[in-house]
Structure formats: C-alpha cells, structure tokens
C-alpha cells in the first residue's frame, strides 16, 4: 500500500448492466462516480433505493468490475476480492449451522492461521463487540441487533483496512437501530478502520459519518458532498441532539427538494 494514497478511491466509475426485457440494450446503474476516502475516515453514501449504492459496494469489494473507470484501494487497483476489505449487509449472513464464534472465524479460514489462532482472534473480536457470552450460541438464539453485531465482529475479525456497510441497520426496529448505531460507532472508532456506510437514511448518515456523498436517482451520480463537522463520532445518539446536526439535516432536505415532492 502506498503510504499517502487514499484508503479508497473511485475514479470516473461507470457501471452498466444488460437491460431487462431488451436483449442487447444496456442501462446505466451508476455514472462517472468519483470520490476518495481518507484513512480512518467514516464516509456515508446516501441515495434513494435503486440508485446503485450496492453496485458501488460490489465493485469496491471486488465482486463486480466497473464498466468504465477504476477503483483503487490504498493506491492499488481492485481486480478481485481483497483480503483488506470487509463488508456486511442488511442481512446478517450468519451461517445458521455454525455457532457465533465459529461464524466469526469464517472469514479467517482463508488466512494462514491455525485453528487455535482463529479461535483466539474470533473471541477477541466478540469481546470487542460485547458478544463474548453468546460465543457458543447459534444465530437463531440471538436477537436481530445481536446478530448484526456478530456480523460486524466477523467483518472486523479479518482486520480489514476498509469496511463496507450496506444498510446494516435498515431491518431493525427504531430503538434497536439507535442502540446499534452507537455500538457500531464505538467499535469502529476504536478500531480506526476506514468505513463506507451505505444508507438511505439521511439522519443516520449525519449521526455517524465524517463526510456524506449524496447520490441522485438512477443513473446514480454524486450530486453533493457534505462535510459533517461534528464532534462525538463515536456516539451518534449524542450527535443527533446537537443543533448543528439538525442544521445539516435540514440543509440536505432542502437540497434534495424533499419538501416539494408529493409523490414518492
């Protein structure tokens, strides 16, 4: 990794897919996206559903390639899945036949570690995510919020440079969501990992991130970049109460002309 290169950079990235129902035709999911993320930064990407947020994640994770442009991680072009990137989705993707600790070990199984080392790393990560008491449980024995924390533990266990979170809170009830956002924020601040949070929740973006990229509807482009110049990144609940946070939110609302739209 080049030392002064951004942790993650997208350079004029366009992704087209074959259009459904029209053989040979293409539609553009995201178009000429460019942004870069500094080491240790927490960036949020917000936009309406279908604007290509998950498409971005897939290209950064090396699961998909841009049609045009390029994605670099620490200065190196992404050509496939990288051991330095972790991602988690709205679904926890825990394997139901594995215990929680065994699930956390999943990502470590392609690393040069023996069983005891894997177990040790997994348990350390569960401790950080305050799930040590649940290490030997099966996923179905945990609540939705706990399962998401277990998924975060699995994501962080591989000690990634960049973590991609694709709407990790959107399947949770309002209160669990707030508690979990805080728990994630603490864990992520503690690990210092570079984070990209994909969300359609503007207030979540303001509460958790250092910088926000706002995307347009399809084809997805970045229409605005907002510096969230607020303290308390590790405590979104405290942040939400700040008057400045309210200001930023109303700024985004007015910029998206949400108050003028009557039909969604």
């Amino acid at each position: 990794m080049l030392n002064n290169a951004p942790a993650l950079e997208l350079d004029e990235v366009t992704r087209r897919f074959p259009a459904r129902g029209a053989p040979g035709a293409l539609f553009t999911a995201v178009e000429k996206l460019s942004f870069s993320v500094r080491r240790g930064e927490f960036v949020a990407v917000v936009g309406p559903s279908g604007c290509g947020k998950s498409t971005i994640l897939n290209m950064v994770a090396g699961l998909d390639r841009p049609t045009e442009g390029r994605v670099t991680l620490g200065g190196e072009p992404v050509t496939g899945p990288s051991p330095h990137v972790g991602f988690m989705l709205q679904k926890d993707l825990l394997l139901p036949w594995r215990t929680i600790v065994h699930n956390v070990e999943f990502g470590l199984e392609t690393r040069p570690l023996n069983g005891a080392q894997r177990r040790e790393r997994a348990l350390a990560e569960l401790k950080r995510c305050r799930l040590l008491d649940f290490a030997e449980r099966y996923p179905h024995q945990l609540s939705g919020g706990q399962r998401q924390r277990a998924a975060l533990a699995r994501t962080l266990a591989i000690d990634p440079d960049v973590v991609l979170l694709d709407e990790p809170f959107s399947a949770l009830d309002a209160q669990t969501k707030l508690v979990l956002q805080r728990s994630f924020a603490e864990t992520i601040s503690g690990s210092g990992v570079t984070t990209v949070l994909i969300t359609h929740d503007l207030s979540e973006a303001v509460a958790m991130s250092d910088r926000i990229f706002v995307m347009s509807e399809r084809p997805g482009r970045i229409v605005e970049e907002i510096e969230v110049d607020l303290p308390d990144r590790e405590n979104p609940i405290a942040r939400r109460a700040l008057p400045r946070a309210q200001d930023i939110m109303s700024h985004i609302f007015s910029m998206l002309h949400l108050d003028e739209k009557v039909d969604a």
Partner: protein, 294 residues
C-alpha cells in the same frame, strides 16, 4: 425526535440494553397458561386414544369378518395371521426372506441416495449441464420406474441386480430434485460473502453450499427411505425366489391370505424402521434449526 432520544438515553449503556432484549429472545415463548391437570390429562389422553383405536381395529378385524360371513381366504382373523407368522418362521425361512428384503432396501437406498445427491450437487454446480439434461431428467422422473423391473430381469436375469437397479432409480429422483432445488435457491449473498473472503470454489461448496443443502437433502432422504422398500418389493414380486415380495406372490399362489398379510405387515415394518432411522439422523444433522414449540 426528542422523545426517541430520551428513551434511548435512559437505556444508558447499549451493553445493558441489548442483552436484555436477547434474554427475551432466547427464552422460548411461554405456553399459554393452562391448569396443570389439563396438561397431564392432555398428555395421557392422546396415547390412550391411539391405543384404543388400535384395540378397536384389531377387535373388529378379529370378530367382524366371521360375523359378516367373510371367508378366511379373503380376510383371515388376527389369530390366523399370528399362527401363520409362527409357521412362516418355522417352515418358510421367514428370517432369511426378511433379512434379504431389509438388506436390499438399505443397500438400494444408500446407493440411490448417494447417486442422487452426487448428481444433484454436480448439476447444481454446472447450470449448463442442468439445462442440457433437465428435459430428460424430467421425463425419467415422471416415468414409473417400477415398470422397468421386468425389463431389468430380461437384461440381468433372476438375481439381485434388477430389484437393486429399480430401487436405485426410484430413490434417485426425489433426492436429486431436492438437492438441485437447494443448490438453485442458495442465498447468492452468502456465496458472495465467501467470495469476498477469497474462498476457492471447493471451499465455497464445502463451507456454504453443502451445509445449506442439508434440510433439502434430508427431506429427499426421508422420501427415498420409504420408496426404497417399494422398489425392492416390486423387484421381488416380479421375479426371484427371495424376499418378502416373493412371499407375497408365493402366498398368493397358495391362496394363503394370512401369509400375504404378514409379508405386507413386515414390509411396512422395514419401511417405518428406515424412515425412523433417517428422521433420527435428520434431527442430529439439523440440530441448529429451531424446533417449533408445541
């Protein structure tokens, strides 16, 4: 907004709030409150009723046909069947026939299950071959496999092969179809997660695809276990001189209805035993799936 904030703030440490929610999730939902005596009565009532039904059926079987003037070669009495069972044990080498059918059923089931699963996984891994072969698989699946038995006897003669091949064919398809179904419907995001962790194809198979298919495989095996007995029986009915299926045709030739009844009963016993065995393996393999509380 501020309302939500105070609620969450009161739950100060998230660490305290979340395990509380977890504890609620972990303990099984409490059964609706009922007086204890009703539970006991309910628990005793069901087996008692089942037993009563059995006794009623046996009594009716024993006494009704003579009352209605049904001759013994149509419906033998329970006691006739029991004495015939003893006679079969003493004079007809019943144990050998029983063991033969049971062994053949198990062997056919294992071979058919193994082949069905292997083809299911192989086709699941290669969508191209699945597309190429699916019309033939569908045709073969619909074809009544037991009807092939006489053909196999023509080809292979009066030995164990025809009935084994029929059984393998009968067992093969439900297992193939179930495994293939699970391979088609596996969560793509799970596969992508494994890919993101730089897993090789074989690792993805053994760590994700194969374990995800267990519920389907087990369902297929359960169906296969009962079909195996049918396959062997048809093979024995059509040709050969061993097995309970042979005893059925033999008894039929002698107009020994009690013998036919007994052979059918013993075939059912084999089928039930195999089904139970698979179900027992299933509960062990699928231990991680929450059982519905009842």
């Amino acid at each position: 907004m501020s309302r939500t904030m105070t609620m969450t703030d009161s739950a100060e440490a998230p660490a305290a709030a979340v395990p509380a929610a977890a504890a609620a999730a972990v303990t099984a939902p409490a059964a609706p409150a009922r007086p204890l005596w009703r539970d006991w009565a309910g628990a005793a009532l069901v087996p008692a009723a089942s037993l009563a039904v059995l006794v009623a059926v046996l009594l009716a079987w024993q006494f009704l046909p003579p009352l209605l003037g049904v001759p013994k070669y149509i419906i033998p009495q329970v006691t006739d069947c029991l004495s015939e069972l003893v006679r079969m044990y003493e004079q007809e080498n019943l144990v050998m026939h029983f063991v033969s059918t049971a062994t053949m059923s198990v062997v056919g089931f294992l071979a058919g299950g193994l082949l069905g699963a292997a083809f299911g996984y192989a086709l699941g891994l290669s969508p191209l071959w699945e597309k190429v072969l699916s019309p033939y698989l569908l045709a073969l699946q619909i074809a009544p496999k037991v009807a092939f038995a006489p053909l196999f006897i023509l080809w292979f003669g009066y030995n164990a092969w025809p009935k084994l091949i029929v059984t393998v064919l009968v067992v093969f398809f439900p297992i193939l179809v179930n495994v293939l179904q699970s391979m088609r419907t596996v969560d793509r995001d799970l596969v992508n997660l494994a890919r993101a962790y730089s897993m090789r194809k074989s690792q993805i198979f053994w760590k994700v695809l194969f374990p995800s298919s267990m519920p389907n495989l087990m369902a297929g095996l359960r169906i296969g276990a009962t079909l195996a007995v049918i396959g062997i029986t048809v093979g024995e009915l059509v040709g050969g001189e061993v097995g309970l299926g042979y005893l059925i045709t033999y008894g039929e030739g002698q107009a020994n209805t009690a013998m036919v009844f007994n052979a059918i009963g013993l075939l059912t016993v084999i089928g039930i035993a195999m089904y139970w065995a698979v179900a027992a393996i299933e509960t062990r393999v699928l231990h991680y799936i929450p059982r519905a509380a009842h």
